[in-house]
């Protein structure tokens, strides 16, 4: 009898799409507004995209930057880049010109695929670059713009899948994330690390081709991206929406599309609970509700279970540097309502003290992560990489230091304690105070500036800026917010601005954030 696995192993991230398109060519892959794209169409468009990218100069290992809304064109751009042996770089569509220029320059992107409506941010960004990427535009290309429309590029592209040159160790994606020190860093993930994380997620969430997943989180956020990857890997349907802004529309979709998987962050759940208080919500089709990015208040558990009476609620924790760390088995949620559970399948977590020794149950320790899902490092940032990747138990292994403190109970289930750095989590997104402060200090008239996270019922933490001005400076709260809004993504713009004549200092002359936090708490 022949060996049963005539099936080729899946090695590259795009192999999932090829397999699913062969298995379910007519099954709906993506529902985005009025568009419904089958797996066969998604594969065909992705192949055309790959060939178009290759004929426009993209070579193996190049980066392709994608600055698109949550649309099926964005999914095609992701898989097209992979099929062209390039690494994709998804950029949040709320990113402003300066940061866009930084990411394009840092990643040295060969091609930029941008939304037509976002060209007003693209043009000033490109003007800052020494060498500009080739510009492809989704939607109309205004006269006089040096760019080509996606439609034109696809129309002339071949339908023959290109032969892959990449192997599993090659770079699949750079995901930019805010760090505690200044500029964002590109997290390097290989095909291997992403495939491993993807299969582990699919395993414990038990996603199948019968699932219907809704994604209201941006695809530029890895939690959003993996909804697409999970759908493609299993043949599930993905309903993508630009945002959770118009909640009634999302609620209608949950019903009309019979959604079975609902991924959210605490801000989305806080809005959902606020809506439920106005008029009760019930979504009986939903089978799985997942939370990550920031700790879900335990008080949400029971209220969410009422809204989703037939769903398992997954409390999870992760960071872009390894995609996902742990999840709580949903059957334990009443027993351990605050826990984020244990390591995802095929991985291990360690809680270590400052001497690198395991801590006892109940004692806080720094959380370390071992597994094939750990990132390769930060793009062109060896020092920052060394801060996060430490030698592991196996010779030559790198394990990830999350820089977060946790405790574990007698069963090994994890509880978040706090961060070792000053990163703020607002709307589930990391905000670097340094990045916001750098923008504030670039505003003429600002003498001193510091940024803190303050508790907020919807946002988790809201951004609070405390500022002192130079003499005669003509600045007020509105002018400062305007300056920030032109340079920072919405979630980084301070919600609260406090002007003080002088900021309190600690003994060594540094701005005393502890004193400020205590003052604000009162």
């Amino acid at each position: 009898m022949p060996y049963p696995s005539a099936q080729r192993p899946l090695r590259l991230l795009q192999d999932s799409l090829q397999r699913t398109a062969q298995t379910f060519p007519d099954k709906i892959a993506i529902i985005s507004g009025v568009d419904r794209i089958s797996y066969g169409q998604l594969w065909q468009r992705s192949v055309q995209m790959a060939n178009a990218l290759k004929s426009r100069g993209v070579r193996r290992g190049d980066r392709v930057a994608i600055y698109l809304d949550n649309t099926w064109q964005c999914a095609v751009s992701v898989f097209g880049s992979l099929l062209a042996d390039a690494a994709f770089v998804l950029i949040n569509p709320q990113t402003k010109s300066d940061k866009l220029a930084y990411i394009l320059s840092d990643s040295a992107a060969r091609v930029l695929i941008a939304e037509s409506a976002l060209l007003r941010c693209v043009q000033p960004a490109l003007a800052q670059l020494e060498s500009t990427p080739y510009l492809l535009v989704a939607g109309p290309v205004p006269a006089g713009t040096q760019a080509e429309s996606l439609k034109t590029a696809w129309a002339s592209a071949s339908d023959t899948p290109p032969q892959p040159a990449n192997i599993a160790l090659d770079l699949a994606s750079l995901i930019y994330t805010s760090g505690s020190t200044g500029d964002p860093k590109g997290v390097m993930h290989t095909h291997q690390s992403m495939r491993f994380a993807l299969e582990s997620l699919v395993e414990y969430l038990e996603i199948t081709y019968q699932d219907r997943i809704i994604c209201v989180l941006p695809l530029s956020f890895d939690y959003g991206l993996y909804q697409l990857l999970m759908a493609v890997h299993t043949g599930a349907a993905l309903v993508i929406e630009r945002s959770f802004a118009y909640s009634a529309q999302i609620f209608n979709l949950l019903e009309s599309e019979k959604i079975t998987v609902f991924p959210g962050v605490p801000t989305v759940y806080a809005m959902l609970l606020a809506g439920d208080e106005k008029s009760p919500l019930r979504f009986p089709h939903v089978r799985k509700v997942t939370n990550t990015a920031a700790a879900l208040p335990a008080s949400f558990n029971q209220r969410l279970q009422k809204i989703f009476p037939n769903a398992a609620l997954y409390r999870m924790y992760g960071l872009t540097e390894c995609k996902r760390v742990c999840y709580l088995d949903p059957t334990l949620i009443d027993q351990k309502p605050e826990s984020v559970g244990k390591a995802i399948p095929g991985t291990e977590t360690l809680l270590l003290n400052d001497q690198g020794l395991p801590v006892a149950p109940g004692e806080p320790g720094k959380l370390y992560v071992r597994g094939p899902h750990v990132m390769l490092g930060y793009w062109q940032q060896p020092d920052k990489t060394d801060h996060m990747l430490h030698p592991g138990p196996t010779l030559g292994e790198k394990m990830l230091c999350t820089q977060d403190y946790f405790t574990a109970d007698e069963d090994g289930c994890l509880y978040f304690v706090g961060r070792s750095d000053n990163i703020i989590k607002s709307r589930g997104e990391k905000v670097s105070p340094t990045e916001v402060e750098a923008v504030l200090y670039s505003l003429p008239g600002v003498r001193e500036a510091t940024v803190l996270g303050v508790p907020d019922a919807i946002l988790g933490q809201a951004i609070q800026a405390i500022i002192s001005l130079t003499e005669g400076a003509d600045l007020d709260e509105t002018k400062i917010r305007k300056f920030c809004a032109q340079r920072l993504e919405n979630h980084m713009v301070p919600s609260h601005i406090l002007l003080m004549p002088d900021l309190p200092k600690s003994a060594n002359g540094k701005i005393d954030n502890k004193a400020l936090a205590a003052m604000l708490a009162n």
Binding site: S247, A248, Q249, I458, K482
Partner: protein, 99 residues
């Protein structure tokens, strides 16, 4: 001030941070143009409730009601008309008699 002007000023000041009225067209989608995000829509409803004195129901959180200056103006008109209809009979009758 007309509702349209109130809405335009509010969006310009609080989301676009500019005085230039040409920064937004009346039929620009707030979401597509990146003017608001999920929390922004919530802020708009709070503003509507405070400024126009009606409450926005959960099922009204739709782009057709909220996602452009034009949609907001139409939504306000619809809500205000609804509020008039909800007036007690006696007042309405009195108004009819007086009219």
């Amino acid at each position: 001030m007309e509702p349209r002007q109130i809405i335009r000023n509010y969006i310009l000041e609080n989301f676009l941070f500019v005085d230039d009225p040409s920064a937004i067209a009346d039929d620009d989608s707030f979401l597509e143009k990146g003017i608001i995000d999920s929390v922004g829509a919530l802020e708009i409803t709070v503003f509507l409730e405070q400024c126009f004195g009606f409450s926005v129901k959960e099922e009204e959180m739709l782009p057709s009601n909220l996602d452009s200056v034009n949609n907001l103006v139409a939504f306000i008109a619809k809500k205000q008309k609804g509020a008039e209809r909800a007036l007690p009979i006696s007042t309405t009758t009195a108004a009819l008699v007086a009219g």
